[in-house]
């Protein structure tokens, strides 16, 4: 995995930027670029003050942050569920903080894939239907795959790439899967339709040690294969060495520090 890590080290690879998926206006601008960001919940002091945080395209970044450090809030801002009080959140060169809520929802559906800590799957959908879910809400991701006809085949391919090639499992209820299997299904769903950015929020915390590394390698391989940027958020630093870069949210966040940058 180190070889892969080094290859992507340079961050902005021209080849990937040119061949990268998606409809971003500017193929070379960072995947994620947060600047002068201030966020506060109503009636509370600011929770986040981030001067600058950027993730280049194709880069794999480990963001370390203990619970309560504003991790979920930052993901909400990147995911477009929250809007900052001031400052900017640029994704793939587009300023998302000024978009309308509905437009942010569409942008997220189109360009971002999420993997959460646990309970990632819709219990009433089958394995394949869970993986194909993003295509329901994003025409762009469905088109990138090659339309509805190719959708199922792509879902099967992704599941196989993540080590779920057993055909009988595809028809199973998701609630019958082990946690590890569930996380792989969730990863396949996040990757479906080649979104430019994959956000993983503690996806390995409910897995045992061996499964953790195995899961992460598969996820990274597939991210590289389809040119997706990976933002990995966790409090567990043991996986850090597998990434291009490690960032600490506590250090990024200057809320407790001196006066806010003007």
């Amino acid at each position: 995995m180190t070889a892969g890590g080094q290859a992507a080290r340079s961050g902005v690879e021209p080849a990937r930027a040119a061949g990268g998926p998606g409809a971003a206006a500017d193929g070379t601008s960072p995947a994620i670029e947060v600047s002068d960001l201030v966020f506060a919940w109503p009636g509370k002091p600011p929770l986040l003050r981030i001067e600058r945080f950027a993730v280049a395209r194709g880069e794999r970044v480990f963001l370390r942050g203990p619970s309560g450090s504003g991790k979920s809030t930052l993901l909400g801002l990147v995911g477009g569920v929250l809007a900052p009080a001031s400052g900017s959140v640029r994704l793939l060169g587009s300023e998302v903080s000024t978009l309308s809520a509905a437009a942010r929802d569409r942008f997220r559906g189109e360009h971002l894939g999420f993997v959460f800590q646990m309970f990632n799957l819709i219990p009433y959908l089958g394995v394949l239907q869970n993986v194909m879910l993003p295509a329901l809400f994003s025409a762009g991701r469905a088109t990138r795959i090659g339309g509805p006809a190719a959708l199922r085949a792509e879902a099967v391919r992704l599941l196989a790439a993540l080590g779920l090639s057993d055909r009988s499992m595809l028809e199973r209820e998701v609630t019958q899967l082990s946690i590890g299997q569930q996380q792989r299904v969730a990863a396949a769903r996040a990757l479906l339709g080649r979104p430019e950015i994959i956000v993983a929020d503690e996806p390995t915390s409910s897995l045992d040690h061996d499964a953790r590394e195995n899961f992460l390698r598969l996820l990274m391989d597939e991210c590289r294969a389809q040119g997706s940027t990976l933002l990995f958020v966790s409090h567990d630093t043991s996986l850090g060495p597998l990434f291009d870069r490690i960032e600490s949210l506590t250090e990024l966040n200057r809320r407790a520090g001196g006066p806010a940058p003007a």
Binding site: E110, F114, L125, P134, L136, F137
Partner: protein
């Protein structure tokens, strides 16, 4: 919104036990509502069909309802009689096709005795064009022949040839019996579901015959009595009758004849059109079924509230699901429409199942209702009014679905992508 509907259906299927119970509750309430509605229509039609084919009912001048009640429903008494001369004059009018004379006043073990002629069996119709039908025997042949309604024969266990003694007056237990002139059961009518079933029919002349030696409600002393055989030899044309029914040669002549009778100078008479009078009477007694309808409406409301409870209860455990949907690009309005679609789907399934249940119940209950109560249920499709009711139920369900949908919408906005376990 098709993907949302697909998700809603799968979500319902996932919780199919609860969903099935919810749908059943709605289905049963809808079936109750439709059943009440159907019975109501059937009862109203049955009521309006108590007598048909008769254009006018003529009696002494009193109230319209009073005349209808005693002539058709055998309830209450006439205040005065119609003279035979007046009856004959109207019966012979060129526009009149036929008449049925009615003479009331006696009873047999609580059942009214009605003196009439064989024309009654010929012209009296009910429920549209249904004719009186003999279950056994036939019309009056002899002076002392009686024809029983279906209920009379069944409840008193009478069969053809049985003797019956008519009591003078209307009391259940009478001390003045016409026991010197007993009748013989000559015919038993089929069930009609009308007051005909509870009537003992005898010939008009027989009414005269049994009263030939009576004066002011008291029979002559034993020495002055007239025997049954002797009465046969006498002129039994009555002096008066209680009322009579008229069939016109043409329906358009009905109103002219009605006015002519109402303005008849020789005697204070009154003619009523049965259909009009029946409708007026139904307006009086129909309040009860409106109450029943209101009760059924509340049962439907209870069914829908059950659905609302089920959906609201499921919301908390579904917050995670909503967050997942948001992470793949669902907007809060998608979450809103997902829940409204669920409520709408449950209610629609409930309504459809309720309609099916109603049809099954009607098909099963039809023979019994017809046999026992004389109510004729139509199997036929839903009326416009029924469809309106069903539409209102589904519409209400959609509106109710907006409540959990609004709460889920609020949750979705505050939860964002963070799944709080």
């Amino acid at each position: 919104m098709t993907p949302i509907l697909g998700l809603a259906l799968r979500s319902i299927w996932n919780r199919r036990t609860t969903a099935l119970l919810t749908i059943s509750a709605i289905a049963i309430s809808v079936a109750l509502l439709l059943g009440v509605q159907k019975l109501r229509t059937a009862a109203k039609d049955g009521f309006a069909n108590t007598v048909s084919g008769v254009d006018l009912i003529v009696g002494a001048r009193s109230g319209q309802l009073n005349l209808l009640l005693y002539s058709v429903f055998r309830v209450g008494d006439a205040t005065a009689n119609v003279s035979w001369a007046s009856y004959q004059k109207i019966a012979r009018h060129p526009d009149v096709a036929w008449t049925i004379p009615i003479s009331l006043g006696d009873s047999y073990r609580g059942y009214r005795v009605m003196g009439t002629t064989n024309d009654y069996f010929e012209h009296y119709h009910f429920a549209g064009t249904r004719e009186l039908r003999f279950e056994a025997g036939g019309r009056f042949g002899d002076l002392y022949d009686a024809v029983l309604g279906a209920d009379v024969a069944r409840e008193l266990r009478l069969k053809l040839g049985d003797p019956i003694v008519v009591a003078h007056g209307l009391g259940n237990v009478s001390f003045a019996n016409h026991d010197d002139k007993p009748f013989r059961v000559a015919g038993i009518l089929g069930r009609t579901g009308t007051p005909v079933d509870r009537t003992v029919h005898v010939g008009l002349e027989a009414i005269t015959a049994i009263h030939v030696d009576w004066q002011s409600g008291i029979q002559a002393p034993p020495g002055a009595r007239v025997g049954a055989a002797q009465a046969r030899t006498m002129d039994l044309t009555p002096d008066s009758i209680t009322a009579f029914m008229v069939g016109m040669r043409s329906k358009v002549l009905t109103f002219t004849m009605q006015r002519a009778i109402n303005e008849y100078r020789q005697e204070p008479l009154m003619a009523i059109i049965p259909g009009v009078a029946l409708t007026q009477l139904w307006d009086l007694v129909g309040i009860a079924d409106t109450a029943l309808m209101i009760v059924a409406g509340f049962v439907v409301l209870a069914g829908l509230l059950g659905m609302l409870t089920a959906i609201l209860t499921s919301l908390n455990e579904r917050r995670r699901e909503m967050a997942i949907l948001r992470s793949v690009g669902a907007q809060p309005r998608h979450v809103f429409s997902l829940l409204v679609a669920e409520a709408g789907t449950l209610a629609t399934c409930g309504v459809l199942a309720g309609v099916a249940l109603t049809f099954a119940a009607v098909a099963a209950a039809r023979p019994v209702l017809e046999q026992r109560f004389g109510i004729f249920l139509e199997i036929g499709g839903l009326t416009r009014y029924d469809l309106g009711l069903l539409g209102a139920i589904v519409g209400t369900a959609f509106l109710m679905g907006a409540l959990p949908a609004w709460r889920a919408y609020r949750n979705t906005l505050s939860d964002g992508l963070t799944i709080r376990v």
